[in-house]
Amino acid sequence: MTAPVLRICHLYPELMNIYGDRGNVIALTMRCRWRGWEVQVTGLSLGDPLDPSRYDLYFMGGGQDREQMMVCEDLAGEKGEALRAAVEDGAALLSICGGYQLLGKRFLTCTGEDLPGISLFDAETVGGDTRFIGNVAVRCRLEGMEGTLVGFENHSGRTRLGPAGKPLGEVIKGYGNNGEDGSEGCVYRHAIGTYLHGSLLPKNPSLADWLILRALRRRYDLEQLPPLDDALEEEAHRAALYMVLRKGPRLRLPRWGGWRASGRFG
């Protein structure tokens, strides 16, 4: 078998990149390179046509309101259709925050803008007046991936899944889709939408590999990915998980050392 080539389509890289979302593309790229495989990353922006036969994996990050409106307009029509067809065909997709919102059915912003989505996910988002900000831990319910996901969320949109919407997982700590029903993200075939920034994939290497495997399986005969040494990533995952689960605010003890060092009290 020839060495696989992973073809990534980075959607709107200059418009939809907030809170380090591009780290996900770095993670996908490096994890293939370490396996000796080639990666091609193509950025597609406003007005660029999307040919679904040319990519294995799609990525779209989050963005601010104005950028979201521009992207929403661009995705309406053919381009959105092409993206949906790609996912129906089994391509992998990861969308974060603002990108996730635009791939649902609609997004009603807090300024009253009604942005139609491409209905890839059975999900609707309504802008709220407070932001959900903080570290998150999620119990992942993906087929073929056990375990937890860690990240940082920062969104005012409240997303509710419809009857066909399958969540990515359940919130262990944090807000997730809407802060009420305990669900986080949405999955359809090999497409994932989530609120987790972080960047998400570097600290959740098994999710990165889940996406890579599914993206490549369409064209290559792969049972599993060759394993990598993920000791550092796993340690970072554990540290982040510990940080989220630890209850209450971080207390800082008085600095006794300072007293002693001043020489007046000890």
Binding site: D21, Q64, D65, P202, P254
Partner: protein
């Protein structure tokens, strides 16, 4: 009838009585604040730069404006994402060179509490500041409140980058709030803006104050293409992508909008030529409306040229001449953590505050001038003052740092995140070390460096404070408060 409700006695005597009561209240609040600051220093609890201010504001909410109203030279505010501390320290040096005494929040405590504490610290027991002019660096989100309270005669905005979006909401709405704060200034005030930052340059359009600009006209020191950390690449007027004719760093450059014709304002205070000399500083040819000349800036990097221009412009708008500017710049001593060199155990620790993507990229660019094989200590914290979200490290071009160090020690509350970032940037495991505890990390970095070698410490805000505190305890530096407060 209204008179009757006031009871007997003239309005004037009532007013006097009221004023006396308020004076007494101010004095009590200032006394309490001073006592707490003294106590906290005595107990070694740190610089005590915010808490006393909190207490004063609680006791007398109008304390900052009451104290500031006694300053004969009025107030100057310096705001923006990066460069506030350096700009205001440079300007303070120029004011001192002109024989003025600035009341200055030098420790970087730039919320209303910190400004109040700095005013109280410099004030007499009755709450009258001993100083000629107030010079305060102000957190971007605090600018509206500070403008309203202190009625500044000059506001300087250095730049706006994504820094801590989890605290401030998005950049655009922050700019809107800052713009409306500037709109509240009267026609006698001045505003000095960065012409090279499209977002900052657009802030002056609604104000009655006279607006001035600073910027770099040197096309030599540029980098190719916009970096990933560029934040404001679209025209604020019409939303179309801006054309950059010259690009300095982040989203700084000479730009214009192809759709609506918006263009970079011509700077009043400009750098016509910049010659960078690694971490030791640069030579800058400056052009102002009244004089031209070459200055030797003892601070590294292109971003510090912007800080220089901001301070120089501010000084001129306050009526200072060339001589004071020159003496202020050339006699500059580094602000804490902004490129300080500290001798420790026969090595030199080069301490650079690196708190957001653009600042970090500039620091990396400066380090590249040092060659390869150095020892780096990278401390990433996620405390409130740093921003709880550390995902911004993925917007830093660490790929350019990765080939440089022969040893990189990652530390801080988010040491593992830092280490993972460096791994994905291409730093191999043999050169990477993770030490959660700052003291261990410092030890490891110093051990990895040879005698006489420099360790480059890149630290986020609270990590800088912690490292500084650690060095104080080791006896390498004096306590922050001894030099921090005026």
């Amino acid at each position: 009838m209204a008179r009757k409700a006031w009871g007997n006695g003239s309005v004037k005597s009532r007013l006097n009585h009221y004023n006396r009561r308020m004076d007494a209240r101010l004095a009590a609040a200032v006394a309490a604040g001073k006592a707490i600051a003294w106590l906290s220093r005595r107990l070694g609890a740190g610089a005590g730069s915010n808490f006393p201010g909190k207490v004063i504001l609680r006791l007398y909410g109008r304390a900052p404006e009451a104290m500031a109203s006694h300053l004969p030279g009025g107030c100057v505010l310096v705001s923006g994402t990066n460069g506030k501390t350096t700009t205001s320290n440079l300007l303070a040096g120029m004011l001192r060179a002109a024989g003025m005494v600035p009341v200055h929040n030098r420790v970087g405590a730039n919320l209303m509490t910190g400004i109040t504490a700095a005013l109280a610290q410099a004030s007499s027991a009755r709450g009258i500041p001993r100083g000629d002019i107030g010079l305060f660096e102000v957190d971007e989100a605090t600018l509206p409140a500070a403008v309203e309270r202190l009625r500044p005669r000059l506001v300087i905005v250095t730049n706006l980058f994504r820094d801590q979006l989890d605290r401030y909401g998005e950049l655009e709405s922050l700019a809107r709030r800052m713009g409306s704060a500037l709109a509240g200034l009267g026609s006698r005030a001045h505003v000095l803006l960065n012409a090279d930052d499209p977002l900052v340059a657009s802030l002056g359009k609604d104000t009655d104050a006279s607006v001035h600009y600073f910027g770099m006209d040197s096309a030599e020191e540029t980098e190719g293409g916009l970096r990933h950390a560029a934040d404001s690449k679209h025209c604020r007027e019409c939303g179309s992508p801006l054309d950059f004719e010259t690009h300095y760093f982040g989203h700084m450059g000479i730009y214009s909008c192809p759709t609506c014709g918006l263009s970079r304002p011509a700077p009043d205070f400009a750098a016509s030529r910049v010659e960078l000399a690694g971490t030791s500083g640069s030579r800058v040819s400056v052009v102002t409306p009244t004089w031209k000349g070459e200055l030797r800036l003892p601070l590294p990097g292109l971003y510090n040229v912007h800080n220089l221009l901001a301070a120089l412009g501010g000084a001129q708008l306050l009526g200072l001449g060339e001589e004071a500017v020159r003496r202020g710049v050339e006699g500059y001593t580094t602000a804490f953590g902004r490129g300080e060199r500290i001798p420790v155990d026969g090595r030199t620790l080069f301490l650079v505050l690196s708190k957001n993507p653009t600042g970090f990229n500039e620091v990396i660019r400066t380090l590249r001038g040092e060659g390869e094989g150095m020892v780096v200590l990278a401390a990433l914290n996620d405390r409130i003052a740093d921003g709880r979200d550390v995902s911004w490290i993925w917007d830093v071009d660490f790929e350019e740092l990765a080939p440089l160090p022969r040893r990189l020690v990652a530390t801080g509350t988010r040491a593992w995140d830092m280490a993972v970032r460096m791994k994905y940037a291409g730093l191999d495991g043999t050169r990477l070390e993770v030490r959660g505890d700052l003291r261990d990390a410092l030890r490891a970095a110093l051990d990895a460096a040879g005698e006489g070698e420099t360790v480059f410490a890149l630290t986020t805000y609270t990590a800088t404070l912690e490292l500084r505190r650690l060095l104080t305890r080791m006896g390498a530096v004096q306590g922050l408060w001894k030099e921090g407060l005026p």
